[in-house]
Amino acid sequence: MESNGLHQADFDLFIKQVQKYVLEQLVPCEKEVFELNRVPEHIIIEMKEMGMFGVTTPEKYGGSGMNISQYIQFIEEISWAAPAFRAILSINTGMMTTAILKCGTEEQRVEWLPRLAAGEIACFGLTEPDSGSDAAALATRAVADGDEYVINGSKRYITNAPLADVALIMARTSSTNLAKHGHISAFLVPMSTSGVTVGKPDRKMGQAGAQIADIILDDVRVPRSALLGGVEGRGFMAAMQSIDSGRFSVAAISTGYAKRILASGLRYSMERKAFGETISNFQLIQAMLADSNAEIYAAECMLRDGTAKADRGQRVTTEAACAKMFASEMCGRVADRVVQIHGGAGYLAEYDAERFYRDVRVFRIYEGTTQIMQLLIAKAYASRVLRPVLTRDSYIQSRRITKPDRKWQVFK
């Protein structure tokens, strides 16, 4: 299904407002964000008022209905500022809205989507102390008890947990592991529910102001209507719905932030003098600026192509993984070069370069590590390339000679 998204003229106008807002309000506020280690309340209120939490929510549920291309451009623009600002809205606009839209009942959509679009902050509770991408090991349990479910367990590294109004909690509704992760269900749990506690925000390498913490669920009672989709076993599916757009989103923040980082490197190189001239005159510095600029452009092209395909209704798992892997690694290289351009100053906390270097490290980790992306891309590549040669004749022949099914196992 093709998605035209938000009216293009409206989108263009909004993007200009976002660019203005980023330069005039968010960037000047960064120091305060780092000192407080959170985004100040007045900024959160402004972001809500500007409709930023509802950009992907369909119009009929109180949002603006951006398609993936538009959403990703929006993320790229807002990522000129520190990552904490994107973090605060990304769960709403990404995982949460998609999960409810695709897997929720109509009652759940009507109840939650307008609230999330208006800025009730969401968090997504999948990861646990002993279970990350490995869903079979999920330990949090939900047990039916009359008209309610009783949930017990704990969740780890949950973005926005200290600020959140509502969480989507993945919990096991079957003690044995079922096919297609059918043992996992999702529950809409208001954070004010009795038995929900949030741990102290974790201390991180970078991205000051973006808060993550544990959520502990101790005999948390929710009504049956909190079960996403009204049916048990939809939790993993809900978590997987937004995985491609989530990866595009990380690629977008990597690209947007890389532009900011490179601009700071350029500015420094034009001010800093060595041997009687600005270091931007030196060709080895220019090489670093040029390589970075070209790589940013490459990441932008991947984003435009991948998201356009997604909006045309094509499957984009490989494109999203490629964009996520390339853009996050690229951003790491750009941040590294910009530290290098700064020389000794790049190692000092006084300059932004040092912070950029720490902030971008996690892009290569969250939403699937580079290594997970590599496995995924290689496997998809193999299936794409090997499949066409498997005509009936060549299949029979290849079974005898090259045994492609054994090759397959390498990637499984």
């Binding site: 003229a9 409206d10 106008l13 909004f14 330069l23 402004e46 500007m50 409709g51 119009e59």
Partner: protein, 249 residues
């Protein structure tokens, strides 16, 4: 009371302006354009008057090429009720703008007209004053505070020696200074709603105004590059350099 606000499409203040190679003007091809910042303040003030129940309707007018509708739509998203676009591709001079605005004033009959004190592209600082003269209305330029009460408006003006407060009989013309207010940002829901607000397009001929330029631009050049200064270690060194190198004392 109806409030009329004039807005202008100008080069974005974050863009580094470049002069065309033939020195006929500033190169505007593929350059980001935006609403003149002083006009944003004017729109904000009008919208606040409406929110306080002082104004009943805010009409926004812009003169310029088709693309200027973007600035009108921005103003509508910020809270104006109706747009008027005087469409022309001619580079309209301040007096012609004032005449066009006067024609719009006659049609719309606003109780208050708010303009930016100047546009950041040509920096003329003339239109508001000319419009006041053409309409025969009182004017309060460089406003930092605007209070409407009854059929009067009290305006605090930023003048060289400090602040000067004047009272004008309505209808009146007010031009905004930087400290009048801090404009809001247009929200996405309001941008979407703004599409449904009326936007009327007229031509200078419809308004009976001849916009043919009366001034001729001879050439436009970039400001001369300043060479970097130096730091001196002491007053003695400064004096000696002023005496011997700059030869000014």
């Amino acid at each position: 009371m109806k409030v009329l606000v004039a807005v202008k499409r100008v080069i974005d203040y974050n863009v580094k302006a470049r002069v065309k190679a033939d020195q006929t003007g500033v190169d505007l091809s593929n350059v980001k354009m935006a609403m003149n910042p002083f006009c944003e303040i004017a729109v904000e003030e009008a919208v606040r008057l409406k929110e306080r129940g002082v104004a009943t309707e805010v009409v926004v007018v812009s003169i310029g090429p088709k693309a200027a509708q973007e600035q009108i739509r921005t103003a509508l998203a910020l809270g104006a009720d109706k747009g008027v676009h005087v469409e022309t591709d001619v580079e309209v001079e301040a007096l012609a703008v004032a005449k066009l605005l006067k024609a719009v004033v006659e049609k719309e009959q606003p109780g208050l007209i708010i303009l930016g004190k100047q546009s950041i592209d040509t920096d003329n600082n003339q239109t508001g004053q000319m419009l006041a003269a053409l309409c025969g209305y009182g004017q309060a330029t460089f406003a930092s505070e605007v209070t409407v009460s009854g059929d009067k408006v009290e305006v605090t003006r930023e003048v060289d020696g400090g602040l000067r407060t004047v009272a004008l009989k309505l209808p009146a013309i007010v031009t905004t200074d930087l400290r009048l207010n801090e404009p809001r940002y247009a929200s996405l829901p309001n941008i979407m709603k703004a599409k449904k607000k009326p936007l009327e397009t007229v031509s200078p001929a419809d308004l009976g105004v001849d916009v043919t330029p009366r001034l001729k631009t001879l050439k436009v050049v970039e400001p001369a590059k300043r060479s970097a200064g130096i730091k001196v270690a002491s007053v003695e060194e400064l004096v000696s350099k002023l005496k011997n190198e700059a030869k000014v004392i």
